[in-house]
Amino acid sequence: MTYIPISPAERDAMLKTVGVKSLDGLFEAIPAKHRFPKLDLPPALTEMEAAAHLGDMASSNENVRQDLISFLGAGAYNHYVPSVVDHMLRRGEFYTAYTPYQPEISQGTLQAIFEYQSLMTNLTGMEVSNASHYDGATAAAEAVNLAYAQFRGKRRKIVMSPSVNPQYREVIRTYSQGMGLTEAGDDSSNHEDGPEALLPLVDESTMLVVVQFPDFFGRIFDYTKLINAAHEKGALVCVVANPTALVMLKTPGSMGADVVVGEAQPFGIPLWYGGPYLGFFTTKKSYVHKMAGRLVGETVDARGNRSYVLTLTAREQHIKRERATSNICTNQGLLALGCSVYMSVLGKQGLQEVANLCYQKAHYAASELSKIDGFGLCHPEPFFHEFVLCTPKPASEVNQYLLDHGVLGGYDLSADYPDMKNHLLVAVTEMNSKDEIDTLVTLLKEME
């Protein structure tokens, strides 16, 4: 199908309307010398030459599939992605980044989103999921929008744990600029604090409490007590969660959370270059009208057959305008599909096996690493597949040493927590073989 945006007659009519004779006339305001400047480009390459050149450039990247052993996590995790996920993503019927316009004509896409939503509510223990957001950080920021709308601006305080992913806290601060919010708790120097430290900060002006599960340092806390206390003050609680951990641990829904969001990249999306990723957003039915984003519902068509529709759209910005909770009227369609395929292919048992492997391997690594002189676990709390290793020298030096030996060490926490200089955040997934873990242990033993 040829796509021609305008016909010559339409173009002429538009030019006439704005009062210029030709297309050149339209651009007259731009000085002629800047209109078509001579670009200093090398001679054109043939396709074969260009492919070879780009291949050379790409091979200078080191990746975690072939070149490096990786223990880096901190929000993005290296998991195995079954080939069927990629196969489904490349199917022409599904190949769009967006919820389609005229959505009901795309029943397959809507069904995939509906399945995604259903799986996400099962995973988080919540009642409703939207069709997804761009990434975990923006999903967390939408929880702030939900709370703001729920209290109609009458409550304007957010209490954020310093052990929420620093990038998420940054995005929340960016999103909420101009909303006149006050923040409490978000002080990176109090990183050791558990949920009880947030309790005295929650008051009758608090609209939302944000915590992470497991937290940025990998620690597992039961937030039930904090959530109950927040509810007593009338505040809502958002839990930022890791989906792989949710397979094994108590769900935030069962702790009483009002909103559960997170990064679904671990479910079927490669690390890529830090994106595009997939944000999930789940909540209780009572907040569905304040929820941002698209929502797919199941219904029956005129013949009584099962069918899918975009539902409750009047709450969205294209209808509700400035009174809508959020300006987000789309989702991360293609990657939500990938996530659904991943969950469906692995199934409940497969997901449990992945979670169990992550847990067991991380605990083996932690146990071996903490036996090395000068190293130790920084936190006593239980953890899932990530933990903070205290190192005898600055984490940046440890990482450089490891990288020189082909190992991507971990996340240098001093980047976000200035007093955590000798603190390395180590992630272990099912992708790390016992040999890889033993290599890390041996290297650190030999480090001078």
Partner: protein, 125 residues
């Protein structure tokens, strides 16, 4: 179109009952909005409202609308049951689906039933 004669009407399709202080949306409005799926009252008991202040937000399957105070005064009651039964705005807009009561509500620029009917007829095409 149902327009009870004891009520006063606004150009933005709210009704006000001077006898009881009750206010809501008209039969014409519910018909224009079609199936209403969500309603949120935006004011609390004891709050002072002025004419034109947003008192509720309504969402139907195809549209969203703000509802404005048809009279000025103190909010003496809020219909808390309404949010659980938004469809009553379609079935009984003057009865079960009252939104708030405005104590000593003083109106300005309102129409009687006959005036509102001809106003609505003028808008249909």
């Amino acid at each position: 179109m149902n327009t009870p004669s004891n009520l006063k009407y606004t150009k933005s399709d709210e009704w006000f009952d001077p006898a009881t202080g009750a206010a809501g949306i008209t039969d014409y409005a519910q018909n224009q909005l079609s199936d209403i799926v969500f309603v949120e009252i935006l004011v609390d008991e004891g709050e002072e409202v002025t004419v034109g202040k947003a008192i509720a937000s309504v969402e139907s399957v195809k549209a969203s609308a703000e509802i404005y105070a048809p009279a000025a005064g103190k909010v003496s009651a809020v219909n808390k049951a309404l949010s659980d039964k938004p469809e009553s705005l379609n079935s009984d807009p003057y009865g079960e689906a009252w939104m708030i009561k405005i104590e000593g509500g003083s109106t300005s620029d309102v129409m009687d039933a006959a005036g509102y009917e001809s106003y609505c007829e003028g808008r249909s095409h």
